[in-house]
């Protein structure tokens, strides 16, 4: 076990797993209780457009993806507030557009194209120190957001109309939540990739919801579960030479299947 930790890339991977677990545990809980998994999925996949654009322009892919995801999130928040009855279809359009746009942009980028697979399925073993700082600052932002607006977030998620009448600016809060979801998704892409990020955002909160009696408890247990999934996944990938992102998700889905027979508390 300890021999793994001699490698710097393994240490970075574990730090990344730790940060991503807390991001996914906290934000994933808010995504699940607000039933915005599809919005998160749309942002995750659509943000590939930002990666393609960043490669084309020669800027940092993570920066490109972040900006692109924020724009997508802004559009989705706007569509949600307009109460569009075909919101899911429109999200589907944005989802597909982002991916196609990203692929065309990489096609148009001259020279060697970076490994598409590393963005689709993650590259936690090649996380850099710079990536860790990026993830860490997003986690700090999330913690501040949730600590300050904890009551408002719960009231809005439970009953938006009641919250609005109690003076909570639900439109603004929901928009902020979507934007933070967008940033969280982009930061998690480094670890598990944009296809698998949805699993890490939804499986831990889904399981945690059954065994907790408060949102704070659900966030804590989700973070812990995500960390366990990441840890076991990383170990498996190291020992059997498997893809790290996919190993993490397979561990998560296995636990998901195993807990299904348990009734909720």
């Amino acid at each position: 076990m300890s021999d793994i930790l001699h490698f710097e890339f393994m240490q970075y991977a574990l730090y990344a797993a730790l940060i991503v677990s807390f991001i996914c545990g906290i934000i994933g809980t808010l995504i699940v209780i607000n039933r915005m998994v599809f919005i998160a999925g749309g942002i995750a996949h659509g943000s590939y457009g930002g990666i393609g654009l960043a490669l084309f322009l020669g800027i940092s892919p993570l920066l490109g993806a972040s900006l692109f995801a924020l724009v997508l999130g802004g559009i989705m928040a706007y569509l949600t507030h307009r109460n569009n009855t075909r919101l899911d279809s429109l999200i589907g359009v944005l989802w597909a557009f982002g991916m196609a746009f990203g692929i065309i942009m990489t096609d148009l980028t001259p020279g060697y194209n970076v490994d598409l697979m590393s963005y689709l399925f993650g590259a936690i073993l090649s996380v850099s120190l710079e990536d860790l700082y990026g993830m860490g600052s997003i986690l700090a932002l999330i913690l501040v957001f949730v600590l300050v607006f904890y009551r408002q977030l719960i009231a809005m998620s439970f009953d938006a109309k009641f919250a609005k009448l109690r003076g909570v600016n639900t439109e603004l809060l929901y928009t902020l939540l979507i934007l933070i979801v967008a940033l969280s998704v982009v930061m998690s892409i480094r670890a598990v990739g944009l296809i698998l990020v949805i699993a890490l955002l939804t499986i831990p909160p889904y399981i945690a919801e059954k065994f907790t009696a408060s949102i704070a408890g659900m966030m804590t247990l989700s973070s812990f579960l995500a960390l366990v999934f990441c840890g076991i996944g990383l170990l498996l990938s190291y020992h059997f030479n498997l893809s790290a992102g996919a190993s993490i998700i397979l561990v998560a889905t296995s636990v998901f299947l195993l807990q299904l027979p348990f009734k909720k508390r």
């Binding site: 209780i33 039933r35 600590l147 300050v148 607006f149 904890y150 009551r151 408002q152 719960i154 009231a155 998620s157 439970f158 009953d159 109309k161 009641f162 919250a163 609005k164 009448l165 109690r166 003076g167 909570v168 600016n169 919801e209 059954k210 907790t212 009696a213 408060s214 949102i215 408890g217 659900m218 909720k264 508390r265």
Partner: protein
């Protein structure tokens, strides 16, 4: 006479269809107002207009003489219990505490907030369920908790959207008895799908089907039928039997 709610010549249309037309209404918080009418007749829409969740297409709603959203701290709303988010992990006490939210408050709830929330739970007879998960309760118990949450707002009027929709008859009567008692101090405005139960408790009935007719509910002396909770009258009997002032929809009060 002083009125807490005044609706003047209100109309509302949604995507080109007239949902409400020429609505006039006066309400003082001493009254127990039941809004009845057929499904799709605009009951919920009218309630949402009253509390400012919707804006009228024309005409105006005045709550305590002001625009509803400006005075939302003085009212409370009990939405229809849809069970849409039924796995939401939250305790009964935390639900009631939502009533203590105010625009400025961030962080945690104060000791005083918790005290108020607990006393409201006691008021609706749900103290023993403080730590229970909200969705482990029965429909009637849950509705009591939502009423406690509304009370925790310390509002002058409580608006309820079909408070007894998912409750058995005994539970319905218990909820209405509670509301009747609360009405000694605060205004009660509710939508009811059950004309008969509503009539036994309401002092004023608004029949909404695109237009609105107000009825004063006759006292027991006038109309023996209402003494018996099991009695049944249909909407038409109600309209012809009670002293109603059928205003022409376009006519101003």
């Amino acid at each position: 006479m002083h009125y807490d709610i005044e609706i003047n010549n209100l109309s509302f249309n949604y995507e080109g269809t007239d949902v409400l037309e020429g609505i006039n209404l006066r309400y003082a918080k001493e009254e127990f107002l039941a809004i009845i009418g057929p499904n799709g007749g605009g009951k919920s829409t009218l309630l949402k207009l009253m509390i400012g969740l919707l804006e009228p297409s024309c005409g105006e709603v005045l709550l305590f003489g002001q625009k509803p959203l400006h005075v939302s701290s003085q009212i409370a709303y009990v939405p229809q219990d849809t069970m849409a988010n039924k796995d939401f992990p939250i305790s009964v006490l935390d639900v009631v505490l939502m009533g203590r939210l105010s625009p400025k408050s961030t962080g945690r709830y104060s000791k005083e907030d918790k005290q108020i929330a607990r006393s409201m739970l006691a008021h609706v007879g749900m103290s023993d369920f403080e730590t229970h998960k909200i969705h482990a309760l029965s429909g009637g118990q849950r509705q009591r908790v939502f009423i406690a949450r509304a009370l925790a707002c310390e509002a002058k009027i409580i608006f309820l959207d079909e408070p007894t929709a998912s409750i058995d008859t005994a539970g319905q009567i218990a909820v209405f008895e509670l509301l009747k008692e609360l009405n000694r101090h605060i205004g009660i405005v509710l939508i009811s799908h059950d004309v008969n139960v509503a009539l036994n408790y309401a002092t004023k009935v608004a029949h909404v089907n695109k237009t609105l007719y107000m009825h004063d509910v006759p006292s027991a002396h006038d109309f023996k039928l209402f003494q018996n909770p099991k009695a049944h009258v249909c909407d038409i009997e109600l309209i012809s039997a009670t002293r109603c002032n059928h205003l022409h929809p376009k006519q101003n009060l």
